[in-house]
């Protein structure tokens, strides 16, 4: 019967219609749900957030850095230290949304476990409290960092080399995340040319400059170029491009150690060429230049963008000037890696999640990110960096009674070509050399001085504060 055949066609059609409902629902659940649920017009979200007192955020010693207080209507987020943590914690505001830790750890702060993503919001407690977070940050060191950066644009990062815990991380300019200040200054903040919303330490990308010479040195040591003598006449031309030492100073015949201490561009540009494209790419790859790292808050991954390298490119990479862009936090990671016998630890900011009653929910443990260089190589590098502070360009970082290892950097950038005195000033350091407790990276952007003059004293003060605590 032809009717029956057509009825079967209709059955198939209805089957497809119903299947499309099921597929659409599943797709909705898997891919659209989160963006829809977090729409600010969703009354459920306000409702849930109003019911739960948002958890507080404290430093490693329990100093409260952000907390929520009940008000007549709803609750208010309070940041007692104003702009001190604006680039770590961010802000939480109904009008402007939320950023950084307030955004990434929103579910923890609201006390919604990971399970509630799968099982819906039914587990949310009525009138309850969210969970509290404890950071790896040391409030005293953070305050010191802010004090040291006063009046300067740039960033300071301090890490514990053994664990990857970030001890301090301050970027200037910053802003006050308290809601009153935020709404009063919003327009100015958004339009400001100094981009105060940019967390420079984690998302600011800078040319590495001479600090990158420690990476090149690592490769040179591995390739037995440690004892090789180089002729430094103050200037050299490679592939038609001239490379000059700072101030055009000639250093005579020197080895690698001396070259690093005096930050000889002539030697390191030659080293770049000697090592060659393959080895340069290899060492950059092993240090993770340009690779993304999960930090919990946005962390720019930097770049090492070469396809084919000319000799001039190799020479430029040798002195950290080529197409290499890094964040201050990443430079702190490289420093920590050398301090930690060649093991690069994964950096982290949040140490512990606790319920309101003080029960531990989750603890974040140190993780090894990459095994970059051997202990032997790192020991040699440590000694070379110690000399750079003891008798080289990093003299300003030396502290009585504490052995400090470091490296200066003065990076050219897009502005130095047009104007004078616009270089970025870098300094990376760790201390004490034997048992490193802290690794520091400092950058002062467009500061125009040298790393040794301007940035090294900041690193010194931070190290002194931490080691003498």
């Amino acid at each position: 019967m032809k009717e029956n055949k057509r009825i079967v066609h209709m059955l198939i059609a209805v089957c497809i219609l119903f299947l499309s409902l099921v597929v659409y629902l599943t797709y909705f659940e898997l891919f659209w749900k989160n963006s829809i649920a977090s729409n600010s017009y969703n009354r459920r979200q306000w409702d849930r957030e109003e019911r739960v007192i948002r958890g507080s955020i404290s430093d490693r010693n329990g100093t409260v850095l952000a907390k929520s207080e009940k008000q007549k209507e709803g609750q208010q987020r309070i940041y007692p230290f104003g702009n001190l943590y604006s680039h770590i914690i961010g802000y939480n505001s109904r009008s402007y949304g939320r950023t950084l830790i307030e955004a990434s750890y929103n579910n923890e702060l609201l006390g919604l476990g990971e399970l509630s993503y799968v099982f819906g919001g039914g587990l949310g407690k009525e009138g309850g409290y969210g969970n509290d977070l404890y950071l790896t940050i040391d409030h005293r060191l953070q305050a010191k960092a802010k004090e040291l950066l006063k009046g300067k644009r740039g960033a300071v990062v301090a890490m514990e080399p053994k664990t990857g815990e970030i001890l301090a991380m301050f970027s200037n300019p910053s802003f006050d995340p308290n809601s009153k200040s935020l709404s009063e200054n919003w327009q100015d903040l958004v339009e400001s040319e100094e981009s105060p919303f940019l967390p420079r330490a984690t998302q600011g990308l800078y040319t590495a400059g001479s600090t990158f010479k420690v990476v090149i040195s690592a490769s040179a040591i591995e390739n037995g170029l440690e004892e090789q003598k180089f002729e430094d006449k103050g200037t050299i031309t490679i592939d038609g491009k001239e490379f000059k030492n700072s101030g055009g100073r000639s250093n005579g015949t020197i080895n690698l150690e001396k070259a690093l201490a005096v930050s000889s561009n002539v030697v390191f540009s030659q080293l770049g060429v000697t090592l060659g494209e393959r080895k340069l790419k290899d060492i950059a790859e092993r240090f993770g230049v340009g690779k993304g790292v999960e930090l919990g808050i946005p962390f720019s991954k930097g770049s090492f963008s070469y396809k084919d390298m000319s000799k001039a490119d190799m020479a430029a990479v040798g002195i950290g000037q080529g197409k290499i862009l890094v964040t201050p936090l990443y430079m702190a990671m490289i420093t920590s890696c050398i301090a930690n016998d060649g093991e690069m630890m994964k950096p982290y900011l949040v140490k512990r999640e606790e319920s309101h009653e003080g029960r531990e929910i989750k603890e974040w443990k140190p993780e090894v990110l990459y095994n970059v260089i051997s202990k032997d190589t790192s020991d040699k590098l440590k000694e070379m960096m110690r000399k750079a502070v003891a008798s080289g360009t990093g003299k300003n970082a030396s502290i009585k009674g504490i052995s400090v290892a470091g490296k200066t950097g003065t990076a050219e950038n897009e502005l130095t070509q047009k104007e004078k005195n616009k270089e970025h000033n870098w300094f990376i350091a760790f201390a004490p050399v034997k048992e490193p407790q802290i690794a520091v990276a400092v950058i002062l952007e467009y500061n125009g001085s040298t790393g040794g003059e301007a940035a090294a004293p900041i690193a010194r003060e931070l190290i002194r504060t931490w080691v003498n605590k």
């Binding site: 032809k2 009717e3 029956n4 057509r6 009825i7 079967v8 066609h9 209709m10 059955l11 209805v14 089957c15 219609l17 119903f18 499309s20 409902l21 099921v22 659409y24 629902l25 599943t26 909705f28 659940e29 659209w32 749900k33 989160n34 829809i36 649920a37 729409n39 017009y41 969703n42 009354r43 459920r44 409702d47 509630s116 993503y117 799968v118 099982f119 819906g120 919001g121 039914g122």
Partner: protein, 424 residues
């Protein structure tokens, strides 16, 4: 036929499911509502008793009522949770619906000349339509309600069934009564017959458009189109109808603000979130809040959605019973539709086939139109979800249609088994 109530049998599982639903309903709010215990017992025993009658008396297909029992239980629980007063009314309507189910079954079996009453169906429909237009009250943008005293009544629910019967008469093409003694033959020339069918169908649809009941208009067209495909089979005529519908839809989109709003809010409701797109976005928020397993009955916020107990009940189910609950509901409707098609395949009489098919496609498409609408798969048009949505007209009309489908399935078994001599 002994072990009907075992945990492996669907009826046993249905009783268990109802027990769980009612415990959830009972626990969701303090102080506990003791009225739920008798209501729950009544509903469960109603479903069990009806099912056992169907099985024992051999009243045809056994799955239809089973599936509908499950759907009605879910619907009742959701409505009761949303609004206690509505819930109690719904329980009353459910009881009335089951009685009407058996009544329509019995009446359908008793009367043999359903295929000859075309003119009665049509005049009834026209009467109801006119009454709606004259007495009708505008509720939520559509003039499809008649208010009698304290009660409102939606004639289009009954007209759906009349429409299906009318179409079936045409396809059967038998002799039709007009008055007691006056009768006409319906074996006209093919073209005339087609024109008559189209005229009738578009008159129905025209009335619905006048009432601004877009959902029902779409549903009627889909039923009409499916019936044409199966029983007429002329590709050109089919294409002509599709073309007419397309032109109608585009014309409506161009000329009528109401339709344009619906299409706009379907394509992108977010810019209109505070006004035109409010309903659909609230519905999406609810579905997103549910996750796979839902918030649990009584623990979500479906009351944020407007019209939640009628048009948007599926969103509330998704929020509180999860996407998995929602998908289960879709699957249940699919089983219902499958059984309907199965019945349509087994009966041989064209009239019965057409009625079974019409009722089945009515359930199927109605479900698709409203679920698709609230999840933003297709533009939203307000019609009810059969057996689940709150509302006496919808529930009773659905049960009447189900009774007829049940009767058709039983008739077939009766012919082959008991009265083997009469078999077709």
């Amino acid at each position: 036929m002994t072990r009907l109530i075992s945990w492996r049998q669907p009826l046993g599982i249905l009783i268990l499911a109802d027990a769980v639903i009612f415990s959830m309903l009972y626990l969701h709010k303090q102080p506990y509502d003791y009225a739920l215990i008798p209501i729950g017992l009544i509903i469960v025993s109603l479903i069990c008793a009806s099912y056992l009658i169907i099985i024992r008396k051999g009243l045809g297909d056994q799955y239809l009522f089973l599936v509908v029992g499950m759907l009605a239980s879910i619907g009742f629980a959701m409505i009761f949770r949303l609004d206690r007063a509505y819930g109690i009314k719904q329980a009353v309507w459910l009881t009335a619906g089951v009685i009407l189910f058996f009544l329509s079954y019995w009446i359908y079996i008793k009367i043999q000349m359903w295929d000859r009453l075309l003119f009665y169906y049509m005049s009834c429909s026209v009467l109801l339509f006119s009454a709606t237009l004259i007495l009708g009250k505008n509720i939520k943008g559509a003039t499809n309600w008649i208010v009698i005293g304290n009660h409102t009544f939606q004639p289009s629910e009954i007209i759906k069934i009349l429409f299906i019967f009318s179409l079936a008469c045409f396809f059967k093409g038998s002799q039709q009564f007009i008055h007691n003694n006056c009768r006409i033959e319906l074996n006209w020339h093919r073209t005339v017959k087609r024109a008559a069918i189209a005229l009738m169908a578009y008159t129905f649809i025209g009335f619905l458009i006048l009432q601004r009941d877009w959902g029902s208009a779409m549903l009627f067209f889909m039923i009409y189109f499916v019936m044409l495909y199966i029983f007429d089979g002329g590709w050109r005529f089919l294409a002509l109808n599709a073309g007419a519908a397309f032109i109608g839809a585009v014309g409506g989109f161009m000329m009528l603000y109401h339709i344009r709003v619906r299409v706009d809010t379907w394509l992108n409701p977010w810019p209109h979130i505070a006004d035109k797109g409010y309903q659909i976005t609230q519905s999406l928020f609810a579905i997103a809040a549910g996750g796979f397993f839902g918030t649990g009955l009584g623990m979500g916020k479906p009351e944020f959605i407007p019209e939640v107990s009628t048009d948007f009940i599926f969103s509330a189910i998704c929020e509180e019973m999860g996407i998995l609950g929602g998908v289960a509901v879709v699957l249940l409707y699919f089983i219902l539709a499958y059984r309907g098609f199965k019945i349509a395949l087994t009966v041989k009489d064209i009239f019965k086939k057409a009625v079974a098919l019409g009722i089945t496609s009515m359930f199927g498409f109605q479900t698709f139109i409203i679920i698709g609408g609230v999840i933003k798969l297709i533009p939203l048009t307000g019609i009810t979800l059969p057996f689940i949505s709150y509302g006496g007209s919808s529930l009773t009309a659905s049960f009447i249609a189900l009774g007829i489908l049940q009767a058709i399935s039983a008739g077939d078994y009766g012919e082959t088994e008991e009265q083997a001599g009469e078999g077709e």
